[in-house]
Symmetry: C2
Subunit: 492 residues, 2 copies
């Protein structure tokens, strides 16, 4: 059936074709059915029925569809009913426990990139990955497909390096410090990070408190060329774009799907042009990986997959049973980072130590001698801080770093929680601290969050345990209720 196009500036989160109820009846399609739109290419879309906006014999396109089809209003396209994308057969094959070939994985991933699969289909694919597993060969081909279907960067320096933590630990904002130290030591680090998914904030949220993070590929390149590094948000760059679409679906259930985790990390690094990669796998109670043994096993898989891409990779398994740093929430974490970079007397020791450890490991991987000493010197001498300023200024295109950090502000309402008696903090839950911050308003309200005065260890009656920051009285009440009910900090 030929229908007349109406481009709607409408973000539906998936490719949606809007039909009039009469047209839908004529075509025998229902809301949520799939149609194929054929022009020079064939694109699949999900049907919505919305007579108010769309007349008979018209087809309204959501922005996702308009962007792919690039057709003018009032031009005609052929629209036919309920055909399946061939990729659905591949998903079914994986559901049946069979292996997918290189070509099949490439086709499947490119269909995801072109929005030709629904979230439900992506859910079936990832469920099959999780429950039926993937061979190393499949993981390699999956990673290749994810790289090939997106943009790719290349940098000239001798050592293009990156670090990546698989996540799960509250705070743990080492990235900006490691990037600053290693770039000051001469490495090239085109670092891209994500926003918060379930945590109090992501690296991109933290950097955004003082900097632009949504860079174009050109801005990113020029920042790296000028300063040796960048601290950008990965979401807008089109590096391994299938990953973003798959993560959207996985996060519905907060699933950790191992083949996807590995492919996701390696593909982003390869696409960004990095060759020397440090992977941090925290383990322990309350971390994503519960034991050292499991962390090591995962590490071996990272090694096996990365071999195909000629990466030099080092995996470190670190203790992850409690939060790292004192501040949790975008602004509070930025303040922690600044304290470490400024060698301030009240800096969070654990964050400094972990940042130095990771920096030294990454420098070692890039054949730099006396790596630990070098990292310490760069941090202590203020060179890391200088490099950080340079990166932020380059990324913003303005030399206003000092102005930006001086205008950092914490939320209006604050409340200090003190120990009611002498005792010992036995446990601080990563998930509990993240949820507490979410209740207080992070990551949306960048000034909100939690400051942890004490880590695991002894505490005296009357001493501060933590301070809560929020812009809303209601949220403060909810946070106090949350503390009482869920006890993210256990004191004995």
């Amino acid at each position: 059936m030929k229908l007349k196009i109406k481009n709607l500036n409408w973000l539906a989160g998936r490719p949606v074709a809007i039909l009039n109820d009469k047209t839908a009846k004529k075509m025998n399609v229902f809301a949520n059915d799939r149609v194929a739109i054929t022009n020079s290419k064939k694109v699949y879309a999900i049907v919505d029925i919305f007579p108010k906006v769309i007349r008979k014999n018209q087809i309204g396109l959501s922005k996702e569809l308009s962007d792919v089809l690039e057709l003018k209003d009032r031009s005609y396209v052929k629209v036919s009913t309920s055909e399946l994308s061939d990729a659905t057969f591949l998903i079914k094959k994986k559901m049946q426990g069979k292996q997918l070939t290189k070509e099949e994985l490439y086709y499947l991933i490119s269909e995801i990139v072109h929005n030709n699969l629904t979230e439900a289909e992506i859910a079936y694919f990832t469920a099959a990955e999780k429950l039926n597993g993937m061979s190393v060969k499949e993981m390699i081909n999956l990673t290749k497909a994810m790289v090939k279907t997106g943009a790719k960067l290349k940098f000239g320096g001798k050592y293009t390096a990156d670090k990546h933590c698989i996540g799960g630990i509250a705070g743990n904002r080492t990235t900006p410090i490691v990037v600053a130290i290693c770039a000051a030591a001469g490495l090239v680090i085109p670092k891209t990070s994500s926003r918060a998914i379930t945590s109090a904030s992501g690296t991109a949220d933290v950097i955004e408190t003082i900097s632009k993070v949504e860079l174009s590929i050109e801005d990113l390149k020029s920042t790296v060329q000028k300063t040796g590094a960048c601290l950008a948000w990965g979401g807008s760059l089109g590096l391994a774009p299938s990953d973003d679409k798959i993560i959207r679906v996985e996060r519905l259930l907060n699933l950790d799907i191992e083949p996807q985790l590995i492919a996701s990390i390696i593909s982003k690094k390869v696409a960004a042009g990095s060759k020397y990669i440090l992977i941090d796998i925290p383990y322990g109670k309350g971390a994503k990986i519960s034991t050292l043994e499991k962390a090591k096993k995962l590490g071996i898989k990272f090694q096996e997959v990365s071999r195909s891409f000629k990466l030099k990779i080092k995996v470190v398994c670190t203790k992850g049973s409690e939060p790292i740093g004192n501040g949790f929430g975008p602004t509070l974490e930025m303040l922690d980072i600044l304290l470490v970079l400024q060698n301030s007397p009240n800096l969070p020791d654990d964050l400094k130590e972990k940042s130095l450890f990771l920096s030294a490991e990454l420098l070692k991987l890039c054949n730099i001698k006396n790596a630990r000493k070098k990292a310490e010197d760069i941090l202590a001498s203020g060179k890391a801080y200088e490099k950080f300023k340079e990166i932020i200024n380059a990324q913003n295109g303005k030399k206003d770093f000092n102005k930006r950090i001086n205008s950092l502000q914490l939320a209006r309402h604050k409340k200090i929680i003190r120990a009611k008696r002498n005792g010992k903090i036995t446990e601080i839950s990563n998930e509990g601290i993240n949820s507490l911050c979410r209740v207080l308003g992070t990551p949306e309200t960048v000034s909100s969050g939690t400051y942890l005065h004490k880590h695991v260890g002894k505490i005296k009656k009357g001493e501060s345990i933590l301070t809560l920051y929020t812009e809303s009285r209601t949220k403060m009440k909810e946070a106090l209720k949350f503390l009482k009910e869920f006890k993210p900090i256990k004191i004995r």
Copy 2:
């Protein structure tokens, strides 16, 4: 955040909340994220961003949401970000291979009924069902939950009975004949059927060529009370409504998920008030179930689950390696049914025989003696035809059966395909015949389809193999191309 409601008469196929881009930015939600809308109840919705339709601080509701929330335009609701439905934890639990309890399955299914889960989440649930399996206890509790969350019928007769085929065979339109025979023998059969999913037509599509099929619960009851039976479409009745939503997701990949298949069939029968149930499981090459052994295994599971509902159930495993009947497509299948009911000399023998077999089995199950003879007599005497007329007239609320069947028409364009040489038809593919009909325009174009002159067996040069019917020249060309390429009928 409080937002002002705007009800949009818009079928999105899922609960969608439309936001202005500014509101979305303020709330830090993106297209396809989830929000919770809290009023007297809490409902989850997927975010679309559509500034053209929705102003700042407004929230547009898709019809699915308006129907659940029942709030007036311009009233305010609280909208908050990205919370997970508790049901997602249950899906995760099933993904981890654990069993779900009765209460958990009830909660999960009721969340599906209330549109609080996305299709991707339903996909994860069904993937976990397929890959991790379900115990008999889980299947029973799943079925109970599916019944409990919908409407329920009850009829007074001594024997309220039903028959169900798990599908997969082209044609095979025994239902209307079995219903007519058994109702004429005194059984009560509140029969509900589906429309075509992947086949040339569903029973509801076939009945619709001469009758209304979208009945209200009241119309259905009165038809059954008057005539002892009905032949309604199951989709609009609200019997086990979760099933329709789950099937929508499964059919994306044409998955057969055993626990869901069993729960789906049993729950619909229990909800319709049937106690005596005949299940037909066709097996063989090209059927859903490949061997008799597998068919029997599935039959045992049906028995185990139905025991909990005090159903008297009989499972028959029938040969399903080739299509049954001569006509394929809504009108052509109706003509087949009429030939059998009218005892016409050129009736399709296989359809008559299978209908008699199933009728006799169902009568036997209801303790009727000499069941086979009784079924034959009812058919031969014209009583079954009279009963069929009665049911259709009652369902239409008009005594115009003859007028309706006289106005049945086949498509304008027809083409006979003849044998090019003497030989033997060795195979007729169920899937091939269904796809051929789809190419010709079924089920949308009820007059289109295929007439099969010969079944498996000898054929002479020049004899007709099949006739193609369509309303469109283009479709005829495509059908001829399809025949050539896919050879649904193998001749040796």
